[in-house]
């Protein structure tokens, strides 16, 4: 019988050795540590946000006054295409995956993800997608048809060359990466929860990542399929979107938005997870309406697949269809509203502490409500006929994407930064950057609602003075510049604090979930022993020390696998060691993907190196056979 109050033995040095990466470049290329992989995802995302932000500022300068000639129409087309494609495909979804890759194992008290090598592969492939878009841009070949490249404009007749192919194949890269990450998160959440963490005790951010990952699994295949069909139309003369040969360009739009609309929630649901975590800890009480928030997320996930057609009201679909999708689009406001009330209820009944992370949450609630309301307006098919392709829509989606996802992300960044680095970010510079970004953002984007109502179309490189749009555009440009300055300050604060910030300790905010039980930054093996949880907020309820279970191996990489519903311990699973195979597999897949925009035969010869790389990856290392016809016969 085990004494319930026994201190577990200190784990030997061997545990750290078992989980340690090789030093230097080899360790960099072979690591399967979820924290390192997430960190490189986030560094890449920050670099891309800078580049795409600069593009945005460039476009705002062009639009600041009427009849500007500093950008040509072609350069403007390339700029908004690159900006939108980068922000949607290379920033928003990947950064949420990255936060999940970093946080989910820590919140589950685990030493690794379910499939560590798959996480490494996911990053390398994502990097391939980044290069697919930005290397050709550096060489002067840039997609120029917006972030959704509708045929027939993107088809073989109107877009010769490889601009459209580059865009389409960049998507294949990033979507395979996101799917790999999602399967990983789903398996981890289902099978690797700590003992005691029944479904009812899953932290809300983990729920959010789980739901977003399921949505990814069912949404992203659509965009991979449709961009592959587009490439086929362009390269081998299939006729999917060619009206003259029985195809239909509207099919492209259906498939694109089958992905595109859920994608908004694939970005938003993890953000709702950040908000819930931050609201709980900074209100110093358990989240009000935990079950309601989880059910709302599930409801949003289900509804998200039923309203893609609201992106296509202007196409001329049957009336009844439009009515249905109007109703479905408005219905999604209900679960979103339930969440907002739960967060406000938590803040109202708690003892809120307005540090930077919570400030971001407050800004999120205000901005997201505005974006949600303009969304309810645009959900109405007749109104949408007027508003579509105007700056009203530009304002709406920036309010929901920046306000609804990026503000919570910045809050999450400030909240978990001390855990990741061991140091606090400066509150002063944090608050200053907060006010600059939130103020600049609203100054920059609110006038666009009015510009849209006044009829200013999106995607125009300039406008004449007689339209009367000049003053509001100038305001929008000034606002954007202020927000960009705030963004630069935010990043500068992160870099400065990394070297000069106050030491954080393991739990600077009085956190409720398991990641705060490990040192900051966490060691490579995360937890010395497997935690056992008894509530949603184990660090708040286990006052006499965190309950743990001993017995996981220390001389090799091993994780605990538990049952799906009750999280009962089932068995101990070997966790894979670092390997170069994911890196080589990603290179092989890159050769196949890049090759296949030039020749269909790349799908055949390109699959050979992929097969070899995957075989090396999965080849189990065990003793040679002593039995059977291929046994080792003599030495």
């Amino acid at each position: 019988m085990i004494d319930p109050n026994a201190r577990p033995p200190a784990p030997p040095e061997q545990l750290a050795v078992s989980w340690r990466d090789a030093p230097g470049i080899w360790g960099f290329l072979t690591t399967v540590d979820h924290k390192r992989i997430a960190a490189r995802y986030i560094f890449t995302v920050v670099a891309l946000m800078f580049l795409a932000g600069m593009l945005a500022l460039d476009m705002r300068l062009q639009l600041a006054a009427p009849d500007m000639e500093r950008m040509t129409p072609q350069l403007y087309n390339e700029s908004f295409s690159l900006h939108g494609s980068t922000m949607l495909f290379l920033v928003s979804v990947p950064v949420m995956e990255a936060m999940g890759i970093w946080l989910v194992p820590l919140m589950l008290g685990q030493r690794a993800l379910a499939f560590p090598r798959l996480a490494a592969f996911s990053y390398w492939l994502y990097l391939g997608g980044v290069m697919m878009l930005w290397v050709p841009h550096a060489l002067g070949v840039t997609p120029d048809l917006g972030w959704f490249e509708y045929p027939p404009l993107s088809g073989p007749a109107y877009s010769p060359g490889h601009r459209a192919d580059i865009w389409a194949q960049m998507i294949t890269f990033t979507e395979v990466a996101a799917l790999a990450a999602s399967v990983n998160v789903v398996a981890t959440v289902l099978k690797m929860r700590p003992p005691g963490m029944t479904l009812a005790r899953i932290p809300i951010f983990v729920w959010a990542m789980f739901i977003a990952s399921l949505m990814t699994i069912f949404a992203l295949p659509a965009v991979m399929l449709v961009t592959s069909m587009l490439i086929a139309d362009r390269m081998v003369s299939t006729q999917f979107f060619a009206a003259a040969a029985g195809g239909d360009p509207v099919l492209f739009q259906h498939l694109f938005w089958w992905f595109g609309h859920p994608e908004v929630y694939i970005i938003f649901v993890p953000a709702a997870g950040f908000v819930s975590a931050i609201v709980e800890v900074f209100s110093r009480r358990t989240l009000f309406g935990h079950v309601a928030v989880v059910l709302s997320m599930l409801a949003i996930a289900a509804l998200a697949f039923g309203l893609w057609v609201h992106h296509m009201f202007a196409v001329g679909l049957p009336r009844l269809g439009n009515d249905f999708y109007t109703a479905a689009s408005m219905a999604v406001a209900l679960p979103a509203g339930v969440q907002i009330f739960c967060w406000i209820g938590t803040l109202f009944t708690g003892r809120p502490r307005f540090d930077t992370p919570l400030l971001w949450v407050v800004a999120f609630i205000v901005t997201f409500v505005i974006g949600g309301l303009s969304g309810v307006m645009a959900a109405s098919a007749p109104l949408d006929q007027q508003l579509t392709d105007t700056y009203f829509i530009v304002a709406h989606f920036h309010y929901v994407l920046i306000g609804g996802a990026m503000f919570p992300l910045f809050g999450a960044f400030a909240y978990w930064y001390p855990k990741a680095t061991g140091r606090m970010m400066s509150e002063f510079w944090g608050k200053l950057s907060f006010w600059l970004i939130v103020g600049g953002f609203n100054l920059g984007f609110f006038p666009m609602h009015i510009l849209g109502l006044e009829g200013m179309p999106r995607r125009i490189y300039t406008y004449s003075e007689g339209m009367g749009w000049g003053p509001l555009n100038m305001v929008a440009t000034i606002g954007s510049a202020i927000a960009v300055a705030g963004g630069l300050l935010f990043v500068a604060n992160a870099f400065w604090s990394f070297y000069r910030g106050k030491l954080a300790g393991s739990d600077p905010w009085g956190g409720s979930t398991l990641e705060w039980a490990v040192p900051s930054p966490p060691p490579q093996h995360n937890f010395d022993h497997m935690p056992v949880v008894d509530s949603l907020t184990p660090l708040w309820t286990q006052k006499d020390g965190l309950a743990v279970m001993t017995g996981l191996a220390v001389d090799r990489r091993e994780v605990l696998v538990t049952s799906v519903v009750e999280a009962e311990p089932e068995y101990r699973q070997k966790s894979p060691k670092p390997s170069i195979a994911p890196f080589f597999a990603a290179i092989a897949v890159t050769i196949l993907f890049v090759g296949s925009i030039y020749t269909p035969w790349a799908l055949v010869w390109g699959s050979v190196p992929v097969g070899i790389a995957l075989t090396v990856w999965f080849w189990p290392q065990r003793e040679r056979a002593h039995t059977g016809p291929l046994r080792v016969r003599s030495r």
């Binding site: 295949p221 239909d248 040192p519 699973q573």
Partner: protein
């Protein structure tokens, strides 16, 4: 080096087994995840077919014969019959029968390769090319999608068989054989709706 908060040991995990089979096994869930992704691709591709079919007067378009039935009938029968040895291998994997999984995966590799023969002929008897019209593009897309799954799983089974014959088989590899057999079942049963669409829809439309 230790956790940052005080801890107390309330149990020990050392007695737990080091492997599992079926839904208890972590990798089983990863396999399900990829089946969900690929199943979604099949469903969406079939949706494309039905969508364009609903937009087009006459299916297949005038002057085109529906694809011939002889080779796909052989293939479909073969795929369904392959489930017998496939489920046998799966049972051998669950029973951790080393000899059984070696022979079984080898047999499934050979069977898979044989099934590629009717599949190859079926391509030659589609009676349309991918660039003739959208109908042809859809038929070829569905065929290539399914064939790529078939080839992938045959390749996987071949590599697995080679490994099993040359190594001492451990518990994790028995679980791998089980997962691979499940995947074959997915490939077989995903063919039924896909094949029905390719071969029956033009006849019933």
């Amino acid at each position: 080096m230790s956790d940052a908060v005080p801890t107390r040991a309330i149990g020990d995990l050392a007695h737990l087994p080091e492997s599992a089979m079926g839904p208890r096994h972590l990798v089983w869930w990863g396999n399900i995840g990829f089946m969900a992704i690929e199943g979604t691709v099949f469903a969406l591709a079939m949706g494309c077919y039905l969508y364009l079919m609903s937009q087009t007067p006459g299916w297949p378009p005038a002057g085109i014969r529906p694809p011939d039935l002889f080779w796909p009938a052989i293939l479909t029968t073969g795929l369904l019959l392959s489930e017998i040895p496939n489920l046998w291998v799966r049972r051998k994997a669950v029973a951790k029968d080393e000899k059984g999984v070696r022979i079984g995966t080898l047999a499934m590799t050979i069977l898979g390769l044989l099934l590629l023969i009717p599949r190859g002929f079926a391509f030659a008897h589609l009676n349309v090319t991918w660039h003739d019209n959208a109908y042809g593009s859809l038929v070829w897309m569905l065929m290539i999608l399914h064939t790529s799954h078939l080839v992938t799983d045959i390749g996987d089974t071949a590599v697995q068989s080679l490994w099993l014959y040359t190594h001492e088989v451990g518990d994790d590899q028995f679980a791998d054989v089980e997962d691979n057999a499940n995947y074959w079942t997915f490939v077989v049963f995903s063919w039924l709706p896909v094949g029905a669409l390719i071969y029956l829809a033009p006849r019933l439309a």
